[in-house]
Amino acid sequence: VVADAEKLKQTEKCCTSMFNTNRQKIMERTDILNQEWKTRRIQPVHIMTSVSSLRGTREVIPLKTLNAVASVPVMYSWSPLQQNFMVEDETVLHNIPYMGDEILDQDGTFIEELIKNYDGKVHGDRGETLSRTNSDASKKFPSDKIFEAISSMFPDKGSTEELKEKYKELTEQQLPGALPPECTPNIDGPNARSVQREQSLHSFHTLFCRRCFKYDCFLHPFHATPNTYKRKNLENLVDSKPCGIDCYMEYPAGVVAERAKTPSKRTVGRRRGRLPNSNSRPSTPTVSSETKDTDSDREGNSMFAEGNSRCQTPVKMKLSGEAEAADWSGAEASLFRVLIGTYYDNYCAIARLIGTKSCRQVYEFRVKESSIIARAPTEDEDTPPRKKKRKHRLWATHCRKIQLKKDGSSNHVYNYQPCDHPRQPCDSSCPCVTAQNFCEKFCQCSSECQNRFPGCRCKAQCNTKQCPCYLAVRECDPDLCLTCGAADHWDSKNVSCKNCSIQRGAKKHLLLAPSDVAGWGIFIKEPVQKNEFISEYCGEIISQDEADRRGKVYDKYMCSFLFNLNNDFVVDATRKGNKIRFANHSVNPNCYAKVMMVNGDHRIGIFAKRAIQTGEELFFDYRYSQADALKYVGIEREMEIA
């Protein structure tokens, strides 16, 4: 009995100590929390006053009443977004929507039809298991039977042999250091290889979105590569002065090179690449010469080149001796090829950028590489300098065009896609012209293209039809409209141009609360004036077909966030969006929606229809937009038909 009592005591002790340590932890965490809240000026949390022990003595704790908290309206989860996000069509039904047992029982046909829309494909049905078995496979090569079995079960995944190949492919790539053969090795890594300029820059060129300035952007699935972009301004490519005492210019060859360049410079940079090209012709470069530089002029200039090479010969001897000492790594060689396409004969600059080679070494390497070096671009000689008069005429036609567009078939607004038809003017065959869009700065056509929108030259706020941008339901382009202020004051909100709010994201502070009408509502924090920009209606950009498929489900839920953008695309704020998605519909609204062309993208702006006071709930008419391109969706559409 005594032993038992002692045991009990011990366990009690143990409990007490555990309780105390636990309590200590709670106190510490509360202290931290309170400390943080103190700095943020929030009321502290009270916890119970200390409890002396577990046993015997009285414990006094303050009671806190937790009031019942009123429930809030239902909200399905969504991801915040401040810019539209393009998604692909879903070929597989993600999930079978659940709308309560009644609907499932009563209206089974709905689900059936829904699945039919996706050709009977529902996510998670099959297929997933296949890839899992593959990745889980052991290092021993499985017997053929397994592949046969998989192939018979999933004939759509390929034959036995194909599966075997797939298996090999998937397992082999798990070896360390291996990269797919088509991948350029990291130029900063140890495995950097000497490759062509195009290959070095391939990833950057293909993934960069010239419209979003981002790599693999969320909005534009197709990016134009830069090779067709023309250099707008010829920069002074060559330093006229030597970069130092060791500069290649200080050497006879450099002088010769410099001298050789001077005439070419005079002829407006024409044929700048000629000299080295011809020079290096005897010494074949190590890299495969796939130069597409099939210059028709080359043959004609060979005489001049030969003359040059003659006087260069002694110097070359000397230089080559040094070049042997200079060991060019793959990375350096690749970098050189990249830079020579940008800097051309400015070896000093190239050397500076490479960092590990002197300009003499660069020059010498240049001589070796000559066959693959790109020519300096030519200036468009046939482009006469812009005349003011001509520009003015251009302007007038544009204003007329805008007017025509407004009067004519304004019911159809098509998505803008930069046009790319080399050596063809933007005529009736140009996609921009057929879609009745202006050519934008992203188009590959000349900046003198007749279909280009010239921008405005307003000095006012661009909020009247006096402004051609406003008239064309476009926001001012900061690269075109240089006088209205759209290109100024990037950091401040005080922009004189009032027609660039969507692109700048100059939205108003919105607050979420249960609506006075239905469900959630959105309320404005500060008063706004009539026609002031409130927010962009953001969401996923989906195709019209996808919108039809999704809309079927949304209609059933009686809740839709679809918003027609143009004839090709719809904005769906169901999964991704911003706070304005909570604005309710009203036939007597205080806001209106307007689809605007903003730097090549159609975007939906929500503006104040009248002066709105602090704390007012925002409404807009879902059925109407100024662009008149709105399709009636959801229940509203049904109501329209009825």
Binding site: N67, A70, V517, T614
Partner: protein, 673 residues
């Protein structure tokens, strides 16, 4: 595009369906249901507490008895004089005087007076209780009420006033110290409760009981005592009549002065109606009795009231002074809350020379002002109506005496915006159509944080707490039209008057859009949910780039860094790019060097140049700045060679592990197809 409109949870009155069902039910149930419906529609009005004084409102200007005329002759010394004078008056203490009640008799017209007085009982038992209504303490649901028994007397039933000698009337004395404030509760008002119990004819014990109980200090609650008493007398019929008179009202003003009173008594079947249950119904089963008719019919109790200085009965008062000087503005009309005491319709037989009594009689007695207001309630989507009439110009909701029809209408319209009031002229006075205002803005007028008293915050205030800004418009000077009743007539065109909100601002509780948690006032200023680069997007752009199998890890890393940079700053114009590059070097330069990405960064710059977005000058400047940053990082410089190898290896290793999981997802070449 239906948006949020279909998310309706149905905030309509749930009564409508109940109404439909009851159509064929028996009439009684139907009436009950209808009554319920009526109450649902009209009872739950919570009128916001007035944030202004009524007398300052232009349409209530007649309630302001003061004028500024006195101000011209004002001297500071006058204040002292006034106070001294008042002090002197108060020294003749009303508190030191006792209340003496001498009962003349109990009159009930059913009985013939003194007929068979030998056989029949000729007296009733009267119990007088002093009711003290105390101030509500925080925890109390309603005001605590204390009932102090002052005594029991036998009062002659239907005495012949000629026969009885004046000295023989039973009399009671309420000690002055009963009116003094007690320690436990602050007493708000005092009233006398008369309870007459009249036992049946065969009862002879009543008298004895009454006598025996006299002056016994009852500590238990009298009502319970009463019940037990009646239990004892089981089998005998006991009728009980009650009446209540206010001695001091809640402003501590003396309501009962010396004089002869006759109190109309009411049979007590159920407990006295509390204020909460007061409804629109008239008192006697729809039969509306003029105020004075009750005195000729119903049972009444007659007594003489005297304030005496000592117990022997010498009168020292009428002291018509209020007990407290707090509200000495006796010239302004008092609010009479007759509806609260519907059991005590009281008049004073003898005219007493005080203001209070005369004013009390003024309203019903003035024939010219006797307007009858018919309130016509329209409810259940205006399909049902109920009419109630009222003979005064008090607001039925807040009992404010508006004195004038115009003022009443204006008050109703402005202070009870849950309803729509339409004035219709009526030969006997006025008809006011009352219907529910569907556009009523139900948002809370007070601090929205108080509605959703948030656990942990609402009850732990121990210092100043930030509130959301709400603007109450106290002074506004609209163009005033001349007061005319026509402005309350229903407008024909149904055009909705631009209703100005009198409280504007953030008078509601907001929520975070990401977590649905209540937004605290200190979180109002900064929008926490307007990030250009929310975390999920930052992660998305990284994973999306990681999915490429034919992009090497160095390229990926530079691209990710650049993407995050662009997302953070939201560049929109080509001519921002030179600036953007320099900012990128400034912010991420050190990271680029540490991660050994300089050549990849250079490739990025050249690519940007190929797109005509930056000049070579920017490339030069950016790289120069990068070199400069590199020199400022000495530790890197020393073992650069090692670092290069190590980080490069790590880089490759990373790429392998990360690509392992995302094999074969995407290729860049597929993008250009």
């Amino acid at each position: 595009m239906s948006g949020a409109s279909c998310k309706a949870n149905g905030a309509v009155y749930p009564a409508s369906s109940a109404m439909m069902n009851s159509v064929k039910k028996p009439k009684m149930e139907q009436i009950q249901a209808d009554h319920e419906l009526f109450l649902q529609a009209f009872e739950s009005e919570v009128s916001p507490l007035p944030i202004f004084l009524h007398r300052t409102l232009t349409f209530m200007s007649h309630r302001n008895g003061r004028s500024n005329a006195k101000r011209k002759a004002f001297k500071v010394d006058d204040m002292l004089q006034t106070v001294e004078k008042m002090k002197g008056e108060q020294d003749s203490p009303s508190l030191s005087s006792h209340l003496q009640l001498t009962f003349t008799g109990f009159f009930h017209k059913d009985e013939k007076p003194s007929q068979n007085s030998e056989n029949e009982q000729n007296s009733v038992s009267l119990e007088v209780l002093l009711v003290k209504v105390c101030h509500k303490k925080r925890k109390d649901v309603s005001c605590p009420v204390k009932q102090v028994p002052t005594g029991k007397k036998q009062v002659p039933l239907n005495p012949d006033s000629n026969q009885t000698k004046p000295g023989s009337y039973p009399s009671l004395l309420v000690s002055s110290n009963e009116f003094e404030p007690s320690n436990s509760h602050m007493v708000k008002s005092y009233s006398l409760l008369f309870r007459v119990s009249r036992t049946g004819r065969r009862d002879t014990n009543g008298l004895v009981n009454g006598e025996a109980n006299e002056n016994i200090d009852v500590t238990d609650t009298p009502s319970r005592k009463k019940r037990s008493l009646s239990h004892r007398e089981e089998g005998e019929t006991t009728e009980t009549y009650v009446a209540q008179m206010t001695v001091f009202d809640k402003n501590r003003r003396l309501q009962l002065l010396d004089g002869e009173y006759e109190v109309s008594m009411q049979g007590m079947e159920d407990s006295p109606v509390s204020k909460k249950r007061a409804t629109w119904e008239t008192i006697l089963d729809g039969k509306r009795l003029p105020p004075f008719e009750t005195f000729s019919q119903g049972p009444t109790l007659q007594f003489t009231l005297r304030w005496t200085g000592d117990a022997s009965g010498k009168s020292t008062a009428p002291v018509a002074k209020p007990l407290a000087t707090r509200n000495s503005d006796s010239s302004s009309p008092m609010e009479t809350r007759t509806s609260n005491h519907r059991t005590a319709l009281m008049t004073v037989k003898e005219s007493v020379s005080t203001d209070i009594q005369t004013r009390k009689e003024q309203v019903p007695c003035e024939p010219r002002q006797k307007l009858r207001i018919f309130y016509q309630f329209l409810y259940n989507n205006n399909t049902r109506q109920q009419t109630e009439a009222r003979d005064d110009l008090h607001c039925p909701w807040c009992t404010l005496n508006c004195s004038k029809l115009y003022s009443l209408l204006k008050h109703l319209k402005l202070s009870h915006s849950r309803f729509i009031f339409n004035y219709v002229p009526h030969p006997k006075g006025a008809r006011i159509d009352v219907s529910i205002n569907e556009c009523y803005d139900g948002s809370y007028v007070g601090n929205p944080q108080d509605i959703h008293s948030q656990p942990g915050f609402a009850f732990s205030r121990n210092g100043p707490v930030k509130r959301t800004a709400v603007t109450h418009i106290l002074v506004c000077r609209p163009k005033r039209t001349k007061p005319s009743l026509s402005e309350f007539l229903e407008s024909d065109d149904g055009e909705l008057e631009q209703q100005r909100t009198y409280v504007s601002g953030h008078n509601r509780l907001y929520f975070h859009s990401d977590s649905c948690m209540p937004l605290r006032p200190q979180e109002m200023e900064v929008d926490s949910e307007d990030e250009r680069d929310p975390e999920w997007l930052r992660e998305k752009t990284a994973t999306q780039l990681d999915e490429f199998t034919d992009v090497n890890e160095g390229e990926k890393e530079v691209m990710k860094l650049w993407n995050l940079h662009v997302m953070k700053h939201g560049f929109i114009a080509d001519n921002q790019m030179n600036q953007a590059i320099m900012l990128f070097v400034e912010n991420r330069g050190a990271h680029i060097i540490r991660r050994n990405l300089c050549r990849n960064f250079l490739l990025h710059l050249v690519s940007m140049h190929d797109f005509n977005l930056v000049s070579t000058a920017t490339i030069d400047r950016a790289m120069a700045r990068l070199r400069q940053i590199q020199e400022e990082l000495p530790d890197i410089e020393e073992d650069q060679q090692d670092q290069t190898l190590v980080s490069a290896a790590a880089c490759n290793g990373n790429a392998v592990t990360s690509s392992g999981g995302k094999q074969g997802k995407r290729t860049k070449s597929a993008l250009t197809d």
